[in-house]
Symmetry: C2
Subunit: 384 residues, 2 copies
Amino acid sequence: MEKVCLIGAGSTKYGKLEDSITDIALQASVDAIESAGIGPKEIQAGYISNVFGIADKQVHLGPVIMSNLGIPEVPSLSIESACGSGSISFREAYANVAAGFYDAVLATGVEKVTHTGTEWTTTYFSYCSDFFYEGGAGASFPGLFASMARAYLAEYKATEEDLAMVAVKNHDNGLLNPKAHLRKKITIDDVMKSAVVASPLKLYDCCPFSDGASAVIICSEKFAKAHTKNYVEVIGSGRGGSPAALQGRDHITTIPSTRIAAQAAYKMAGVTPKDIDFAEVHDCFTIAELVDTEDLGFFEQGKAVQAVREGRTKLNGDISINPSGGLKSKGHPIGATGIGQVAEVFDQLTGKAGERTVKDAKIGLTHNFGATGASCAVHIFKSV
Amino acid sequence: MEKVCLIGAGSTKYGKLEDSITDIALQASVDAIESAGIGPKEIQAGYISNVFGIADKQVHLGPVIMSNLGIPEVPSLSIESACGSGSISFREAYANVAAGFYDAVLATGVEKVTHTGTEWTTTYFSYCSDFFYEGGAGASFPGLFASMARAYLAEYKATEEDLAMVAVKNHDNGLLNPKAHLRKKITIDDVMKSAVVASPLKLYDCCPFSDGASAVIICSEKFAKAHTKNYVEVIGSGRGGSPAALQGRDHITTIPSTRIAAQAAYKMAGVTPKDIDFAEVHDCFTIAELVDTEDLGFFEQGKAVQAVREGRTKLNGDISINPSGGLKSKGHPIGATGIGQVAEVFDQLTGKAGERTVKDAKIGLTHNFGATGASCAVHIFKSV
């Protein structure tokens, strides 16, 4: 296996964007290519992550992006795994470079949905659940995560205010991220007074629907060394699955796919959770961040809530969780999110994260899942 | 690199199916697993190819399929590359097994669209073109392939009757395939008298909209040998791209991605077009089969039409093209088609093709592209 590295990353702003899905994918791709200091012709394959291209009337995005980059002959494909599409596409790009099939590839994640309105988006997103048992029975994602939250609050004697603290922290981080969707300081009181979406989750417990694109350049160590001294190494990669419907799981305060993926990634990297300096985790709802950070082994089960109360997951706390602002504040363009997390790690480990820099960070982790965690990938990165 | 093999294949009938997208994907998957003589628990990853899961309200198909197979913890993903999704998903599965990431994986392709009606399907399929230049300007796929046909007929002095002969041949083959969508003997006269869709293409020059699923089990040579003596080896794999919109190409009587993919696959396999005993090629319209068989090197440019006139591409002619009936007669459930081609090769090379068996065949090729060939993958297989 070849060592696999990152040498460039780019992102659009996340939020409500006016440009077409193709244009925002291209903006992020060009950003990543320029950040890597290479030309498009050095790219040997394109990995696109996207879920609802149909919302902007363009699926089969790969060839359109490659053609617009001036490299139409380069093979490309699209990968979908609901909200986990980005990390699972990244994994395929990683695997192909590790195996030596390609020296350098472009992984671009993109989503454009806000123009369709909340009803379309909520309805179509529910097709990512196990629709027979969940979406089709009226359980959309806020409801499913609310079930998890209810179980967690009861099991670990946590409160709605505890959930709110996750949102407040991530908004604090997002304020420092010029590309974040929701750049707005909020208080626990703001969260508690926001409209109930699916009790106990309120509006400010939920990430927004976002448009956006992120892209990274993934390459062999040899290619990286030939182009730059400021690169990042991918040291661990793991994937896992869970029963697609929540009802098929023994417990709903833990996500099996996260545990399986994390175990594989830690093993490959030869590190433990204690070695991780910061992590971008899948906080589609505040409850998810608590569950994630336990499943990733940062805290014992039921103890993440105490860590949040003590501020240990704040920027430059014991372990910085979601320094970018996370899905909650940075935003959640579903096909782009997993790639955006990797872009954040690249920026953090190459000194490009500005005010939100995690001090002295050497090892970062990304965690991104689809639906209620039916699919998941975890990656671990090290500065060189 | 590990040698990569096929040890099982399964398919639903192609056509207008009543079961849900999940159910038909499961039927093909279970068929493939049983055909391989393994249990689901031996599968380490799932590669799903699908384009319009939204038509049946289920995207994020991987975890739903894995969960229903009783292996929810196994990682899965969906790959989309328009009508080429199946072969490009197969390529990712191949690459991961070749690299040693997995010993055995399931690749399942599925599509369920006929219940949406022709208007929905034609509209949504056009999102697979370069929508800004093509679909959005009114050029749906019949129109785009009609442009290719007009150019080909003019350039090589071919006739509409020549195109019709491709349809007649593929229907003859499909009659021998119990799982084909259009099992109906047709004559040149039938084709010529059928309704004009986009001149010079008439209804019988066009493949149907189909529902269906196909699945194959892809594994290392070691895994194959431990389970069966009747397996097939994957000896060549290539991918390529073309300018997404037809207008971006220098010539429209050849498809660049096919040539790039074929060259790579032949090189890896160490064979030439003359070594291929039969090929499943992408005949979404009759014109495509002529162009494909030239781009694949079976005939010189402009000479495929002469070969068809002489019956050289018929079942057990010089080179059997589309012994399954092809997209034209077997049908074209777009996410499944590329996997269905591989399933046909498996059946042919393991003595399971019944009346449509290509005699003494040792080497088969699959060729499957997306849109007007913006994306393409070619694979070459050998009996052991």
